[in-house]
Amino acid sequence: MPRIRILFVLSVLVVVLAIRLVATGPESLLAAPASGGDQALAIIVNQANPVENCSFEELRKIFLGERSHWPNGRRITLVMLDPAQPERKVILREIYAMSEKDLNNHFIQGVFTGNILAAPKTLATPADVRKFVFNVPGAIGYVSATEVDPSVKTLRIDGRLPDDKEYRLRLQPRSNRP
């Protein structure tokens, strides 16, 4: 009886592996799972937004408030996760190159001069960000790539998506990456 049990468990494992192989290709079995520190951030926009790709410099201008409209004339509404979230630290490090205090001052001064139309909206969770981007046609935000669902569209940055090895926006600083 024990032999039959072992054979049964082995058969189930083989079937599961075979299904995964057919569904995702052989790379999925060889690739090591992404460690928590190497998670990528996805820049997400509304599904109706015609923009598919954006250069990193353009993205920086959008996040700084130096660009306030999409090419179709729709006003850009930037949404950020609140300061406690690790994803926000990536945005501050990679895009703004600023501290929280400097970022706050940047938007106070920008809105005050009229150069920036509005400070970013801040939300607590990735689900809130997704929901906001889903509901607001001109919205742009960011979530961990694992949090993306079909309700929103992931922007390519310099032609790259979060699963690309050369993609810039990752939890781990570039200097610490292998």
């Binding site: 410099e57 001052n105 607001v136």
Partner: protein, 312 residues
């Protein structure tokens, strides 16, 4: 419409203790400007912006001024239109810093950019229409600003300088400015503007470092006179942040002819200012500043000021 109308108010204020070795001057605590900055997204394309300022004058009387009042239409990044009372885009400082001491590194504005009611020689405010936006120029980052408004009153030195409601003539003041923010040098802005006042600037502004440089040539051609009075002026200001501390240095110069008919009391003024700004919190700054100002045929003045500037 996916944006709700939302009014936001931010306040700025400052209090300064100052003194100098000028004859007949006294040390004093001075209330600065209490500034209520109000914005509202009227719709996706229209926005309202105003600065309502309460301030005391040398007679110790507190008054209220609407320093900026604008309805802004934002078509896209290339075309924005504002109507109302605005800060003229002459040079850099006037549109980068308005009526909030907390946002400024030093305790006050450079001599060249003093407000009209504080003896300033530039038309800081204007009432009219302003268009601005990007010029397609790739990585050069060119921007334009074009303004037309009532201009500054000139019929009498005692008249309110900003013609808010009535214009003394049909002529309108026109100002055109061009500036570049190139991608290659983050924080750099260079530009020129012209309105009978030629202004040029080159500034680098980063969170921990700033270097502001501006030069102006103001020309006055009084009616009935063939002589054109020219007033040159400049300032340079540099600062660097070290944690919560930010030492700064400014040198400024303005040289107006003693025969200049519009502002005969400005004359020649020049000298350095040295200061230290300390961020007591994210919203409160303490500034200690020493000024040395030299004049034409007058004794120079040394001043010291301690300012508490805050936002709320």
């Amino acid at each position: 419409m996916d944006m709700k109308t939302r009014m936001q108010i931010r306040g700025f204020g400052d209090v300064t203790f100052h003194g100098s070795d000028q004859k007949r001057s006294h040390t004093a605590f001075s209330l600065g400007q209490l500034n209520l900055f109000v914005t509202s997204d009227v719709s996706e394309k229209f926005r309202f912006l105003s600065e309502i300022v309460f301030e005391a004058d040398p007679s110790n009387t507190v008054g209220v001024d609407v320093e900026r009042l604008l309805l802004q239409y934002s078509k896209n990044d290339y075309f924005n239109l504002s109507v109302g009372r605005y800060h003229t885009a002459i040079g850099f400082y006037n549109t980068a810093y308005h009526h909030a001491a907390w946002l400024q590194t030093a305790t006050g504005r450079p001599l060249l950019f003093q407000f009209e009611d504080g003896g300033g020689i530039l038309p800081i405010h204007n009432v009219g229409v302003s268009a601005s936006g990007l010029i397609p120029s790739g990585r050069l980052g060119l921007h334009y600003i074009a303004e037309i408004g009532n201009g500054r009153a000139s019929s009498s030195p005692n008249a309110e300088a900003v013609q808010n409601v009535v214009d003394e003539n049909n002529g309108k003041a026109v100002n055109v400015a061009l500036f570049a923010r190139p991608d290659a040098i983050r924080g750099l802005q260079t530009g020129v503007s012209d309105e009978m006042i030629f202004a040029a600037h080159a500034v680098v502004q980063r969170p921990s470092f700033e270097w502001l440089n501006e030069a102006l040539l103001i020309r006055h051609a009084p009616q009935g006179q063939s002589h054109v009075f020219e007033t040159p002026g400049f300032y340079t200001q540099i600062s660097k942040a070290f944690g919560a501390y930010r030492p700064y240095f400014r040198y400024q110069y303005v040289n107006e002819s003693s025969k200049e008919p519009v502002f005969p009391f400005v004359g020649l003024q020049y000298g350095p200012s040295v200061g230290l700004r300390f961020h007591a919190s994210e919203s409160v700054a303490l500034k200690l500043q020493y000024d040395h100002t030299a004049f034409r045929q007058q004794q120079s003045v040394n001043g010291l000021a301690l300012q508490f500037a805050f936002t709320f």
